[in-house]
């Protein structure tokens, strides 16, 4: 579907016409990411991050396929094969650093993409399916990233696998059986490493499939925009190509600069030195922490230190950690405000900023050693995280008096407020 004024694909070359009559693939691409997709004219740079996420997915698949040509998924030689990539394979160090830091970049742009969706209400009707598929992609990414981190078979790989698969042992009764089944042994070993490698190779292509569904679902109603007001006429939109391909190109350049700076100047900044020690099942690193992008969820896991209502602390932690992500599936129905963009929601906006700070605090707590103060702050931050979605959001949606919305995107643009970003709004309100 598209807006009635969307440009139609007209093959110029006879060969392209021949192809179009038999398999309209060029037409499909033209309508999806070409001039045939009309997009609101007021998108700001936060709308770059979907394309950036797609780019990093593609980069991860390319570097990953190349790495798999040199890596050996066997517990006896996996660690050495990674060192072989680093030292012996031509440009192997570059490809591996690009893959390891590419995962961080991918998660980073996806977190910004999610935050963009929260601020501008992109999860609301009629885009709920876009949001739900996005949460599915996020879950798949987390699984893929975790299994990829296990592959070098260093100390953090091994103990990360031990701790994460240990989550399943918290399930009452059958937990330990499930854990042993998942690992194919009683502790992480060759069988676990092999299946993680197999799934780590598979899941990115599953992600790619869900990404296609995500974009498909997006193109039914069309893109949201900073005002949150729906497109009403042709003058509200511009064709995706060349306007947003060009704008996305700017973002791609900036993202690649940051990516290159990480690879060439600080390739191990986001990693853990312990993972350069070969896996040792008989010795635990003093401080087990996951990669930075899992820290907020790790903090929620660790926040439960006491048994409560017949449920042991360990199970609470695991339930809360998974619950913190599954909660996002219900977001479109927890936020009942008809206004999408936080630019016009003075109260929601404040709580969204607090949520952002809360998640950053959780991230810090997740990486900190568990002193009593750290545990207490983690517990408060965890309560706030759940309260935001389950209490604050429904109440704010009912009580809040939103600012008047512009009649159309074009009106907002001509008034000079069309593409307001959160920072500009924050400045304007002060």
């Amino acid at each position: 579907m598209s807006f009635p004024w969307a440009k139609q694909y007209e093959p110029k070359h006879p060969l392209m016409k021949w192809v179009d009559d038999r398999l309209p693939l060029p037409r499909f691409v033209y309508n999806a990411v070409g001039a045939g997709y009309p997009v609101p004219r007021n998108l700001n740079y936060f709308w770059n991050f979907g394309v950036l996420a797609g780019m990093f997915l593609a980069l991860q698949i390319v570097t990953g396929i190349v790495l798999a040509m040199h890596y050996a998924a066997n517990a006896g030689i996996a660690f050495d094969s990674v060192e072989h990539i680093m030292r012996d394979v031509n440009a192997g160090w570059f490809i591996r650093y690009a893959h390891a830091n590419g995962a961080s970049m991918f998660l980073l742009v996806v977190y910004i993409h999610i935050a963009r969706g929260l601020w501008y209400g992109s999860y609301k009707a009629p885009r709920e399916m876009v949001w739900l598929l996005g949460v599915v992609i996020f879950l798949l990414m987390m699984a893929t990233a975790f299994m990829g981190y296990v592959l070098p078979w260093g100390q953090m790989s091994f103990w990360g696998a031990q701790v994460i698969t240990g989550f399943f042992s918290a399930i009452p009764g059958v937990g330990e059986t499930i854990r042993v089944w998942l690992l194919g042994g009683f502790a992480p070993d060759n069988s676990a490493l092999n299946r993680f490698f197999s799934l780590h190779y598979l899941l990115p292509f599953v992600i790619l499939g869900v990404v296609i569904l995500h974009i498909w679902a997006l193109h039914i109603p069309g893109s949201n925009n900073p005002t949150g007001v729906e497109v009403k006429s042709e003058q509200d939109t511009v064709p995706f190509h060349p306007y947003y391909t060009a704008k996305d190109g700017v973002g791609v350049g900036v993202a690649l600069l940051i990516f290159a700076a990480l690879i060439f100047y600080a390739p191990n900044l986001l990693g853990h030195p312990d993972n350069y020690i070969p896996a040792n099942p008989l010795s635990t690193p003093a401080h087990i922490v996951p990669e930075w992008y899992f820290l907020p969820f790790y903090a929620i896991l660790k926040a439960f230190t006491f048994d409560f209502l017949w449920i042991p602390a360990k199970l609470w932690g695991v339930l809360a950690m998974f619950g913190s992500i599954l909660l996002l599936f219900f977001l479109p129905w927890l936020d009942t405000s008809p206004v999408r963009s936080a630019n016009y929601r003075p109260t929601y906006r404040i709580f969204l900023w607090i949520l952002l700070v809360d998640v950053l605090v959780l991230g810090y707590i997740g990486g900190a050693a568990p002193t009593p103060a750290v545990i207490l702050i983690g517990q408060i931050a965890t309560i706030y995280y759940f309260a935001h979605f389950l209490l604050i959001l429904p109440i704010v949606s009912m009580m809040e008096r939103p600012r008047p919305l512009p009649n159309s995107i074009t009106e907002a643009v001509l008034a000079g407020k069309g593409g307001t970003s959160p920072a500009q709004t924050a400045l304007a309100t002060e």
Binding site: W159, V163, W181, G184, A187, S191, R195, A286, H287, I288
Partner: protein, 190 residues
């Protein structure tokens, strides 16, 4: 919304089929049988993930414990996991016995966790029941924690001389695997 039946224009002859129709029976039977087939094929696909024969072959370990003096312990491997075998001193046994069982998070006596007449032999997995780290205390000079047993450096769980959880986040005592004394100085674990 009109249902399909109501949608038939009035006046048209409605050919009321016998209920259930023969064709329904065939369709349901065929699909059900295909479902059984899919289920049967799924079984090996699921079961292949369970521990393989060579992994299970490691599930019994024999250990000679004759060289472990009272107060000493060793780290062995059982199912590729650390196994602590500890020869308790009379003082450590007395400490474990002196603890009221009702105070414990996971109430067990030292007798429950050892073999009859072998109360000095404490055999446990060296896997913290919290998140699976290896506790300290089995090696020479390692921190045994405030209760003189084992201490997990990851999140601060402390175990006493019977390997019972006394403080910290771990939910249960260190696991005592299935084992037996096959002679006075040899145990078979698993």
């Amino acid at each position: 919304m009109a249902t399909l039946d109501e949608a038939v224009p009035p006046g048209e002859v409605q050919d009321a089929p016998a209920d259930p129709r023969r064709r329904d029976y065939l369709a349901i039977g065929a699909v059900a049988w295909a479902g059984v087939g899919a289920g049967v094929i799924a079984l090996p696909l699921i079961n292949q993930m369970s521990p393989s024969a060579d992994v299970l072959a490691l599930s019994t370990t024999e250990l000679d414990v004759s060289a472990i003096q009272p107060g000493q312990s060793i780290k062995a491997t059982f199912r590729k996991q650390p196994l602590f075998v500890r020869n308790l001193t009379p003082k450590e046994i007395a400490e474990a016995d002196a603890t009221p069982v009702s105070d414990l998070r996971d109430p067990q006596t030292l007798e429950d966790r050892t073999k009859p007449d072998k109360k000095n032999w404490l055999v446990t997995l060296g896997v913290c029941t919290h998140l699976g780290c290896v506790p300290l205390g089995a090696g020479e000079g390692e921190n045994k924690g405030p209760f003189g047993g084992y201490f997990c450096p990851c999140h601060g769980s402390a175990y006493d001389t019977a390997g019972r959880i006394r403080s910290g986040p771990a939910p249960t005592n260190l696991t005592v695997p299935e084992y037996e004394f096959i002679s006075d100085t040899t145990i078979r674990v698993g």
